[in-house]
Amino acid sequence: MSVQRLLLAAMALCLAGCAQFHKPLSAENRQKIKAVDVRVVVAQDGFMFSATAPGASAAPGGLIGVLIDVEVQKSRQKGMAAEIQATVDPLLDIDFRKEARIALKQATEASFPLRLQSAEVVSTMPVQRERDERIAATAKGDAYMTLLVQYALEPGLGAFTTRTGINLWQDGQAERSYYGNAVYQAPLPAGTRAEVVARLTADDGRLLRTYMRESITETLRMVALDIDAQAKPANGAAEPKKEPFNLIANGMKATLSGVLVDRRGTRTIRRVDTVGMYSVEQGAQP
């Protein structure tokens, strides 16, 4: 039932005008957390290319619209089959969990704002009953955090993106005490599709694995910064200045506005109100 409540809540929030996809962790809740079990869920086994046209967001409405959409997708899928296959095939040997395990291990050895009781990368999402039991167990035990990871190669191969949904439960409450989004994006080397794929997969996929590992490291850093920032008491300072930044979404350039939270070289982390955190290359803005 909690899944349906979650989805109903998402629907209600959408209807309210895309209002809230981020709930900060309150100072009070943070204080109560003694330790947390983190599960990084990487449930995909390949890059999930769909034949959606770049920039398309939804099918036309109604039954006829749905039927048209299926046929359009099938037609586009046939047209893109060779391209999708040529991209996916060289990547079949890439282990989608390996780099996440390395990055998570490094993070547990470094600093994290919450004490990590355990941290694991899993390939299969536990079923609802097991999730409910784990959440209920937070009443007397450690808090429970899930990071739901999705790796993506943007249509047109302009960028590698890792999108992660973060949820935190504590004190036996079905309601999450913290949730948000962390989006990492790295521009891919310029070139034809074949050239880009060749560079990604060369040397046992070294470049792609580097992106995967960095994306998890950055995601954990974004979560840490988000939790740290929200836990600090308000000091009455002026509203932080927001600046526009770009990223590629569904193959199209998009401009968001966010507060600069951290900068390391050319990579910046920004917080976007009501959504979460973004880690993008400042020097290579699309």
Partner: protein
């Protein structure tokens, strides 16, 4: 424009509770292969009859060697991921016996002129027969907008007079997501498997008549031809 974007997102999100209700993540897919039924749209009234499946071989014996599950995560055949900015809700699609499923799919080549039978080919240079060992490299289904999408990769190692020749055959499927049921994920996986087997059958049919039709080469993806 932003309001319109929000409205489309809201419409999509409004479907989520219904969609989440139908799928039962605790129940593995039965992994029973059924060839996709041709769309009625392909046969129109008063139009010439649509021909049956194209015959790529004539009574060619297809020896089905060992079939292995070579996927990186054998426990699942895809995932549901819902979310606006990132996945906030994920369910894994658990799988049954994919080796049996692959075997059933390969037996469906009977419809395109093969006589499939289990075991290695007795002689790799004998006429009108072809033998291969198989590996399932990928079977992945997921939801995309209002549709379900799937991708299957079947690897075949043919026995030829010049030694084994390995090829990988990709198949993809798309169906409308009507109630997000377990059966619909099975259907879209079957569509992708049928596409992959069709691509395999095209090459296997060539080997029935010409044992050197496929040059030994590193595994290459074979483009979909349908």
């Amino acid at each position: 424009m932003k309001a319109l974007h929000c409205l489309t997102l809201a419409a999509g999100a409004a479907l989520l509770p219904c969609l989440a209700h139908a799928f039962d993540a605790a129940e593995p897919l039965d992994m029973v292969y059924m060839a996709p039924v041709a769309s009625p749209a392909t046969q129109r009234p008063n139009a010439p009859p649509v021909p049956d499946a194209v015959q790529v071989a004539r009574n060619c014996t297809l020896y089905l060697g060992k079939i292995e599950d070579l996927r990186s995560n054998p426990g699942t055949v895809g995932a549901l991921m819902f979310g606006i900015h990132s996945p906030m809700y994920v369910e894994s699609i658990r799988s049954g016996d994919v080796v049996k499923w692959t075997h059933q799919a390969l037996e469906s080549t009977r419809a395109v002129g093969f006589q499939p039978q289990d075991g290695a080919a007795p002689a790799s240079d004998a006429g009108n027969q072809v033998g291969a060992a198989f590996g399932l490299r990928l079977a992945h289904a997921w939801s995309a907008g209002l549709n379900l999408v799937s991708h299957v990769v079947l690897q075949a190692s043919f026995q030829t007079p010049d030694g084994p020749v390995t090829r990988r055959y990709h198949g993809m499927g798309t169906i409308g997501n009507w109630n997000n049921g377990n059966g619909e994920y099975m259907t879209v996986l079957n569509a992708a498997m049928a596409n992959a087997v069709q691509n395999f059958a095209t090459d296997a049919g060539k080997l029935c008549t010409d044992k050197r039709a496929l040059a030994p080469a590193p595994a290459q993806p074979v483009a979909s031809t349908n």
